[in-house]
């Protein structure tokens, strides 16, 4: 379980996140949603120890601020929004970096083939020899996800659940790969791990999230199951536009929902 109590983060004297409580349970996908600039990424960076914060964050009951980097790395992996490289690494060399901590959770010896398995998992079979910088933004994002998966390949290690932190994992992906990546996240949770993801697509959020945390102006506006949180009033209050949840477009206007995937 990830438990965060009374988290506040200030950057350059300006408070970006104020007094947020957050809980992510193993076995669940927890989504963080909210408009641009509402503090989603800042909250995630506090939860992963990347930014200094006030309040407490615990991972499986242990205080995050007292953990060494290598201990935290064995409990959770983090996918940033985008990653730029300065040297010509091949895709395989990048994915292999996920094994640096040595706690992937597969049997000894299976590690050597793990980058290939992870690449196949994100639908990048055969991309190992390509240069990372030659790939499109969406492909790069999936390479990084493969690296992150290598780090915590087993969702549960030595009886303790592990966690994936995903900052907009699907924002640069086509719809097919959005579904593939979200299925990976849900599968990770089903097998006992926990997932914390920042999402923008409310339909995908409704479809995959077990719990939603809605941020607005750095504060928690709502938290709960999708069916309880996603309603007309909240969307108008938080996003500032009048949308009707569950309303169909008029007439013959086509629309495509991820929920219709076979």
């Amino acid at each position: 379980m990830i438990e965060a109590r009374d988290i506040s983060v200030a950057i350059g004297g300006k408070r970006i996140v104020a007094h947020v409580d957050f809980t992510a349970r193993p076995g669940e996908v927890s989504a963080i949603v909210g408009p641009n600039g509402s503090g989603k990424t800042t909250l995630l960076k506090a939860l992963t120890g990347e930014l200094p914060y006030t309040g407490t964050v615990t991972l499986n009951g242990c205080d995050l601020s007292a953990m060494k980097p290598i201990e935290a790395a064995s409990l959770r992996a983090v996918l940033p929004q985008a990653t730029a490289l300065s040297f010509p690494f091949t895709v395989r060399e990048i994915v292999r970096l996920g094994l640096i901590g040595g706690r992937s959770g597969v049997l000894p010896g299976e590690d050597t083939r793990l980058p290939e398995r992870a690449l196949a998992r994100v639908d990048l079979d055969g991309f190992g020899a390509r240069f990372y910088q030659e790939l499109s933004g969406g492909e790069q994002q999936r390479v990084q996800l493969a690296r992150v998966l290598c780090q915590v390949w087993a969702p549960v290690l030595e009886g303790r659940p592990r966690y994936l932190f995903l900052d907009e994992p699907v924002s640069s992906l086509d719809v097919k790969h959005q579904l593939i990546i979200m299925n990976i996240a849900r599968d990770f949770a089903w097998r006992g791990g926990g997932v914390v993801a920042i999402l923008h697509d409310l339909n995908l959020t409704a479809m995959y999230a077990d719990r939603i945390f809605v941020l607005s102006g750095g504060q928690l506006a709502a938290a709960g199951a999708p069916v309880d949180v996603l309603n007309d009033e909240l969307i108008e209050k938080v996003f500032g536009c009048r949308l009707k949840v569950g309303a169909l477009p008029e007439g013959s206007m086509p629309f495509v929902l991820p929920q219709s995937a076979a």
């Binding site: 120890g49 980097p69 300065s86 040297f87 690494f89 290939e116 020899a129 240069f131």
Partner: protein, 365 residues
């Protein structure tokens, strides 16, 4: 990119995009190259002394026919060439490895040890001794004799680096970007002070410091190796422990931390190690340019940017190249000697350009 098959590489089917087998083959070749370079440096020079004969006599215990000639040869090989070869190998390795580490730390293929101010600080220290040795700094030269210059250069470099580190570190976090920018300012200041000293120098001192700035291994003696050798060896020996961390750092500081790397300790170790090794190198050999940028670059094109292989390969290639450059510097205008910095630049620059032109596609990535 098509995999090139290299003779002697393991026949195990490597995974696509895994360049470690090729890297190991290249490292094996570089070991061979270093052995050949050492042999070449020991046997070539202004004198006709035969290193082969000296070594053979030493091994077989044979008594040479001409004792006086043998004694001269022994002196040349043991007391002049051997320390020079050892020092050249150490400095070449140090400059190349430090270049690779700086590039990994700053996440920039153009970074070199000069960025953390160590070169400017060393120059200031050395030039101060050359110009002021008879006046303000007379007590220093009196106390340390011929070691005064290397010591001043070493501590000058270290002082500037530690000052920059202090400027760039806030709340236990070192900002690499701040360090880079402050480095430009502090280096400019150090160079201005060096300029003042040059302005004060007389003709003899000007000649001395010009030659010092061009770099040379001519001053190599066993006592000097005893002074700077341990510093350089320690710093080089620490570098392999940085390789995993530097690999992770290629993804950014935050991601390196998430992967379990203690980033602040990595930065501190790299900066102090580099400034010690480069300070010690510059102290005894002056400014030898080019090795620190070219060697890691060429190797990255050959074996990729994985620091587990890049760092040892850089050490081997840097040592070999400097030995070969020094052999050329000693023989091409014999019995005089060309400053080695000229040789490394004249030979290195066109070669580097040629590599760049051939591999433009990869470099632009």
């Amino acid at each position: 990119m098509a995999e090139q098959s290299i003779a002697g590489a393991p026949r195990v089917m490597a995974a696509e995009g895994d360049r470690s087998a090729r890297a190991r083959a290249v490292i094996a070749l570089l070991c061979l190259a270093l052995t050949l370079s050492v042999f070449l440096s020991l046997t070539s020079g202004a004198s006709d002394a035969s290193a082969v004969r000296v070594i053979r006599d030493w091994f077989t215990g044979a008594v040479p026919a001409d004792a006086a000639l043998a004694a001269r040869d022994q002196l040349i090989v043991y007391d002049i060439r051997m320390p020079r070869v050892l020092l050249g190998a150490l400095i070449g390795a140090a400059l190349a490895v430090c270049g690779a580490v700086m590039q990994g730390l700053f996440r920039n293929p153009l970074a070199d040890p000069g960025l953390i101010g160590v070169s400017a600080g060393s120059s200031l220290g050395a030039v101060a001794i050359i110009v002021l040795d008879a006046t303000w700094l007379a007590p220093v030269t009196l106390a340390f004799g011929t070691l005064a210059l290397p010591l001043a250069a070493f501590f000058g470099g270290l002082a500037v680096t530690l000052l920059l580190y202090a400027i760039a570190t806030r709340q236990g976090r070192t900002s690499v970007a701040t360090m880079l920018l402050a480095g430009i300012a502090i280096s400019a200041l150090a160079m201005a002070l060096t300029g003042v000293l040059i302005f004060m120098a007389d003709d003899r001192q000007l000649r001395d410091l010009t030659f010092w700035q061009l770099g040379s291994l001519a001053g190599a003696t066993w006592p000097k190796i005893g002074t700077v050798g341990p510093v350089i060896i320690l710093a080089i020996a620490a570098m392999p422990f940085l390789s995993r961390g530097l690999n992770a750092l290629a993804l950014g500081e935050a991601t390196a931390g998430h992967l379990g790397i203690p980033v602040q300790r990595l930065k501190y170790t790299a900066i102090v190690g580099v400034s010690a090794a480069v300070g010690a190198s510059v102290a005894v050999s002056g400014g030898i340019g080019f090795i620190g940028i070219v060697v890691p670059h060429v190797l990255r094109l050959a074996i990729g940017p994985d620091n587990r292989y890049l760092l040892p390969a850089s050490a081997l290639l840097g040592a070999s190249l400097l030995l070969i450059a020094d052999a050329v510097a000693r023989t091409i205008v014999a019995p005089a000697e060309l400053p080695i910095g000229i040789v490394t630049a004249v030979a290195g620059a066109p070669f580097f350009l040629w590599i760049l032109l051939r591999k433009r596609g990869v470099i632009d990535l």
